[in-house]
């Protein structure tokens, strides 16, 4: 019996994977086409810069002013703040996605397998870090709670990643590869 089940399950899994990938390919192409006219500033991570604004808004909400350990306390949010934070976290996810795509477009040009695999390993680690914090914060947000420290950590991950991407793009541009940078940004 197992001799029949395994190949059938394997074939169905591969077929499912093919369908998922085809769907993803279509949606990515649609996204790229719809972002064709976006200015360059909007093609790079930018939402993370709003962290101080969000923190100020949380602070200005009356009840939190009494909290002494601001950073580490789990704040219980009201509807308005909860929405605001959720939107900010979504923005961070978009930032990370953008950074990740630019990173992918650049490392595609790796001259050899060794450096490609090393960079991919770093990318995987970073992704793991980001998604760990992202899931943790999202679960808490569903219960209308957030810790500023955790939010700061997630912002740190994205901001540092964005900084590295920016530095790399600037360095490439300054070394006379501005055409390459433009092509990377338009493809990611």
């Amino acid at each position: 019996m197992i001799g029949f089940v395994v190949p059938i399950a394997l074939a169905l899994a591969l077929l499912g994977l093919l369908l998922v990938l085809s769907h993803r390919e279509k949606s990515e192409k649609r996204r790229l086409a719809s972002e064709g006219y976006l200015p360059v500033e909007e093609r790079v991570p930018r939402h993370y810069k709003m962290f101080t604004v969000i923190e100020k808004k949380l602070w200005s909400a009356e009840e939190y002013k009494r909290v002494n350990t601001w950073d580490s306390t789990n704040l219980s949010l009201r509807q308005t703040e909860s929405k605001l934070v959720a939107e900010y976290v979504r923005g961070l996810r978009e930032d990370f996605g953008r950074g990740n795509r630019i990173f992918g477009a650049v490392i595609l040009h790796s001259p050899d397998v060794r450096i490609l695999s090393q960079l991919e390993r770093q990318r995987l680690r970073l992704r793991f870090s980001f998604w760990t914090w992202y899931v943790l914060i999202s679960v808490k947000l569903r219960m209308n709670s957030v810790s500023v420290r955790e939010l700061k950590r997630l912002t740190d991950v994205v901001a540092t990643f964005a900084y590295q991407i920016r530095t790399m793009l600037i360095a490439l541009e300054e070394s006379g590869n501005s055409e390459f940078v433009r092509s990377v940004l338009s493809r990611s």
């Binding site: 394997l10 390919e25 450096i115 770093q122 790399m168």
Partner: protein
Amino acid sequence: MHIPAFENLLWGLGTALKVLLCILVVYRRVYSRLPLFTVYAVLLVVEVIFVWLVYRTWGYTSGVAWYAYWSALAIVLLARGLVIAELCWVSLKNYPGVWSLARKIVGVTATALLASAGVSAALNKHWIVGFVLTTERGLEFAASVILILLLAVSIQYKAWLEPMEHSILIGLAVYSIFQMLNRTFMSPLMTPYFHWWDSVRIACFDIAIVTWLYPLRRPLPTPSAPPVLLSEEAASDSLHQLLERMQELTSELKHLRKAIWK
């Protein structure tokens, strides 16, 4: 031997599609971009004509017919393997790092496949049957995995495939996956329950051909301009710098995580 009318119809349709594919591939000058796929498309027609002529001359049950069928199948199978390799090369040739990795994967897979087919041929009474059947079984699985990986890589790095290459990939992947199912449903134990599967088996290759014919209905678009490349020196320098920074960043994050969970 009696062949049901529906399967006869499917066979006729399949032959017509193969001829149409062959004509369109030559007419649209696909050979300038994908020479091995062109050879494969021509071979599909040659195989049908050759086997049909042999059956007609020497009879369906003759020894000549037996060898002709298996030899033709082996050649077409080899050509299909080469088409997959060509597809990988055409899609990734501009990216040395990724192509070098893909070349290794395809090379190791092909070697393993041929080695196991060779062993099977040596052990089988009819070497050609052992060789073809083992190669086919391995090729279907390896082909579907390699093609799906190629699609995943193209999406991950936004190294999009041209429409013709994309159709070939989808057609070949769907066909290989169905062939994996065919081997199960066409086994002696299952055939009594799934006698209609034979029609599915014939129809799935027709579906693959229709997928390949679709982009050929119009002149093929000029291939998109090759990606802007970094000089090898610049790529090496900036990527090494990037790697160093990323390593710093991940170790920083590791420390942060430790500090928070303490």
